[in-house]
Symmetry: C2
Subunit: 527 residues, 2 copies
């Protein structure tokens, strides 16, 4: 065990994998080269048509077999149909010991994934998120070796460096031509873009584009080119765009959370990060949506035009673009139909390449150029470390997303969080799991005050004399504990066994997650 | 020496380079993987601004030093200013033994390139074209080892496979932001696109974007992303778009050549390759321009709408797009301001990725999906082999361009050529140099008749009963020889020394070019 730069004990090696402990947000300099994808070959132009009917044919054509790694994007989120189709087909064909390497998983896939594990078709999940019953399964110790949690940028890094080796990428594409040129922009089930699959397409041994909308050659715009595609599988439906966001995409109605969003905007403005020409990102959580709305109002009031913004995009950001208060929007993921329509029609609305968005082992990325990012948290500790991946009971719960990436890149990183969730304190002594290191977090905005990271004297200087309630994070924590009626933070009841490694975006290990004692294994309920 | 599939003698090794003789257009199956570019790293977001003033600063910043390989694109063709600026700066800084690996060279660069060779700053030229005085210098034997001629697709192949290793790519960009996101589409010196540099950007050790138009971040559309860019060099002017085409871009006025163009259209139509939904490419030579014009007229007359076309694009193709007789245009190189403006304004006008265009070692490319391609030739022989790279005296003269790529990919490949140029026969027994193998050429259209490749019985069947003058290629040759007053083809007066290797698009060697005896070395005239 080695103590890493956020004080967590990291094994030097586990299950045959050598680990590099986290050294600090900007300290790890990568060595060596990217991994080299295979040279392709098309025998002759006669082979230009790559279409087959259905998933099974595609699986046979690319030679998917025991022990391989398969990947998927999550642009349809809870409306995805491709992963289930492929897993069902693999089970039917009796393929065993696959590794699943998706960019994320969602509730609609849980039952199929668990069944595939139970039947031996899946033996491991590599990267992506570990939510819901899948998180519970991992936390109860179903796998022989620990899984790895990675940020969006971290997954690109892992693929380009060879840490994730994909044998077959299955890419749900709302439009494709017979040769595999495809995009997420148009079609009866358009999802905006399919960027999460771009690294998969570039590095996988074999690529299957799965589409329900075969269009005339060449399918444009070309988001993924035929150069990378082996087979085009035609199916009835790849996903339901209406289920991209599970539940309703709605601004929080809680006065507490609205206050947090307003204070976050105020903080960013007072400290000089909202100005004519600024850039920002905010996500699709309740507080983030409110932040985007209030930010739009501020831009309007001040007559500012932001230079650009990016996001998991929603109608709130589209509104700002339509009103002319941001010049350009770059979307990595469309969260609602307003976003999809805007991408289709507005020439100032672009998709953001997922590698361009956050790949840390390139020579620069979009997140590095952000003025402001607003992010949520499951827990924040007095060292400003943030947890997004485990509940306080230690069970895997949520993904990292772009949290680490944007926090490291933006000039001002604001974490918004209520002081409590139910009876649980959110500001704690030590986060259960470190996802994002405190050195990349500048301020925590709660309904009981704003804590500024002591590393940022400059911000402290700027808020002086404002009506913002600036507090010490220790005091926030104490208040939270008092309200919770506890003296000490309750630690998870963890076994020794490490079930998950939390990678920092640069591939080093920032924390580990252990098996939760006495946790029910959801596989036991699968027939 | 080994005889290759077009009967040329190829050494198995030369100057330490192992050679693979050409095996047939679709016979060589590549093994192994692409080369792996270096992992990038940005120390922290503070480093986001990459701008330096001028070329010298950029050269110092990326550490350009003796023996390295530098690359350039040729989108400005004879109006390019970047290559000369860099060579001048390198000479001034006393850097020696550089290898020049441009996508092409033009007359405006000849003097500087020759001076750089003479002063020892340049020691070799890798790929690109060998025109004019540069061709003459190579043909007179200035280099220690033979140069290599490659097609557009072949250059991408060579870079991605590691055959060309670029240390520093200099990329003239009509628009760039401080981080290096850039494009060729907008700016005071817009050239349409900068696609020839995309492989360079992805694979070079260091990348310098050279721009005269710094725009607000993020520069969109993003043709090359900041992920690949080390330094942005700000200069006064990168090129003159008015000189993209040397001389005037004008349709041939020669009745002979107009007839050739008309017959080529007729042949493509009669054989079923021009239809509602067809695809085509034609270049910017005099006959090709006329072909495009006549093709447009045919589409109009028949009420056809072609599905797509690509080209080194000119106003003639833009006209067809505007009139709605082609749905989409994909441009790899803009040849006039009409093309540039159309790319800027028409949502159905896209740029064609140079890798997507013609990279043979991917899983498919645009050229494979063409119905018709019309190409020129310096010579064609009775086996339908085409020479584009040497004069009949054996001196290097012209580049390959997309000749090999499109000929191999298209369903119908038509070579248009006058029977004679001056007193020289163009249809000969054996081309001086094989650029494009006869097996990928379907027909040769001359003013004295159309020769169809005997491999294409199907075409022969289709032209039966038409008013096209179908002749045997042997008869064309005989006629040419008679008109030239010769009995036998005059062969070049070549030395034994091999000065150039002609690569086929797959990296095998299709022919060699030898030193021309008694040729004046243009370096002798450089002070």
């Amino acid at each position: 065990m080695v103590k890493n730069a956020v004080g967590r004990d990291i094994p030097e090696e586990i299950a045959g994998m050598k680990l590099i402990p986290f050294k600090g947000a900007f300290a790890h300099v990568p060595e060596g080269r990217k991994v080299a994808p295979k040279l392709g070959y098309v025998a002759s132009p006669d082979k230009r048509n790559k279409v087959v009917k259905g998933i099974e044919e595609a699986i046979k054509k690319v030679g998917l077999s025991d022990g391989m790694t398969i990947s998927f994007h999550h642009h349809f989120r809870d409306g995805d149909m491709v992963m289930n189709m492929v897993l069902e087909a693999a089970m039917k064909l009796g393929i065993k010991d696959l590794t699943l390497a998706p960019s994320s998983t969602f509730p609609c896939q849980e039952d199929t994934v668990l069944r595939a594990i139970k039947t031996g078709t899946l033996k491991y999940i590599e990267g992506g998120s570990y939510r819901g019953k899948i998180g519970q399964a991992v936390s109860s110790g179903v796998f022989d070796k620990p899984v790895r949690l990675r940020s969006h940028g971290g997954r690109v890094r892992a693929i380009t460096s060879g840490d994730i080796h994909i044998d077959v990428a299955f890419i749900g594409a709302p439009s494709s031509d017979y040769a595999g040129n495809c995009n997420g922009l148009f079609g009866p089930h358009a999802c905006g873009c399919i960027q999460y699959s771009v690294p998969d397409a570039h590095y996988a041994e074999k690529v299957v584009v799965v589409t329900d909308n075969l269009v005339e050659y060449p399918c444009t715009p070309i988001e993924i080119s035929e150069q990378y595609v082996d087979v085009v599988a035609l199916v009835d439906q790849i996903g339901d765009p209406n289920k991209i966001v599970s539940g309703t995409l709605r601004i929080t109605k809680s006065p507490t959370r609205l206050k947090i969003a307003r204070d976050a905007v105020k903080l960013a403005h007072i400290t000089g990060h909202i100005y004519d020409g600024c850039s920002f990102q905010a996500g699709a959580g309740g507080i983030s949506l409110a932040f985007t709305k209030f930010l739009g109002e501020l831009l309007e009031k001040e007559g500012y035009v932001a230079s650009w913004a990016m996001a998991g995009t929603t109608k709130f950001l589209v509104d700002i673009l339509r009103k002319g208060h941001v010049k350009k929007v770059l979307t990595g993921q469309a969260f609602d139909t307003a976003a999809i329509e805007s991408m289709q029609n507005d020439r100032n609305h672009f998709f953001a390449g997922i590698d361009h968005y956050a790949h840390v082992h390139g020579k620069g990325c979009l997140v590095n150029n952000l003025d402001v990012i607003v992010l949520g948290a499951t827990e924040v500790d007095v060292n400003f470390n943030v947890n997004t991946v485990t509940f306080s009971n230690g069970m895997l719960s949520h993904p990292i997303g772009g949290h680490q990436d944007t926090a490291a890149g933006a000039k001002l990183t604001i974490i918004t969080a209520p002081l409590m969730r139910g009876r649980l304190p959110i500001i704690v002594d030590e986060v259960t799991t470190v996802t994002t290191p405190g050195e990349t977090v500048d301020a925590v905005v709660t309904e009981y005050g704003i804590a500024i990271n002591p590393r940022r004297d400059d911000l402290m200087e700027k808020v002086k004399g404002s009506d913002l309630n600036i507090v010490d994070i220790e005091d926030l924590k104490k208040l939270a504990y008092r309200k919770a009626g506890i003296k000490e933070q309750k630690k998870p009841d963890w076994d020794d066994e490490i079930v998950a490694l939390v990678e920092y975006r640069d591939g080093t290990i920032i924390d580990v997650v252990r098996k939760v004692k006495g946790l029910e294994n959801p596989l036991d309920k699968i027939e």
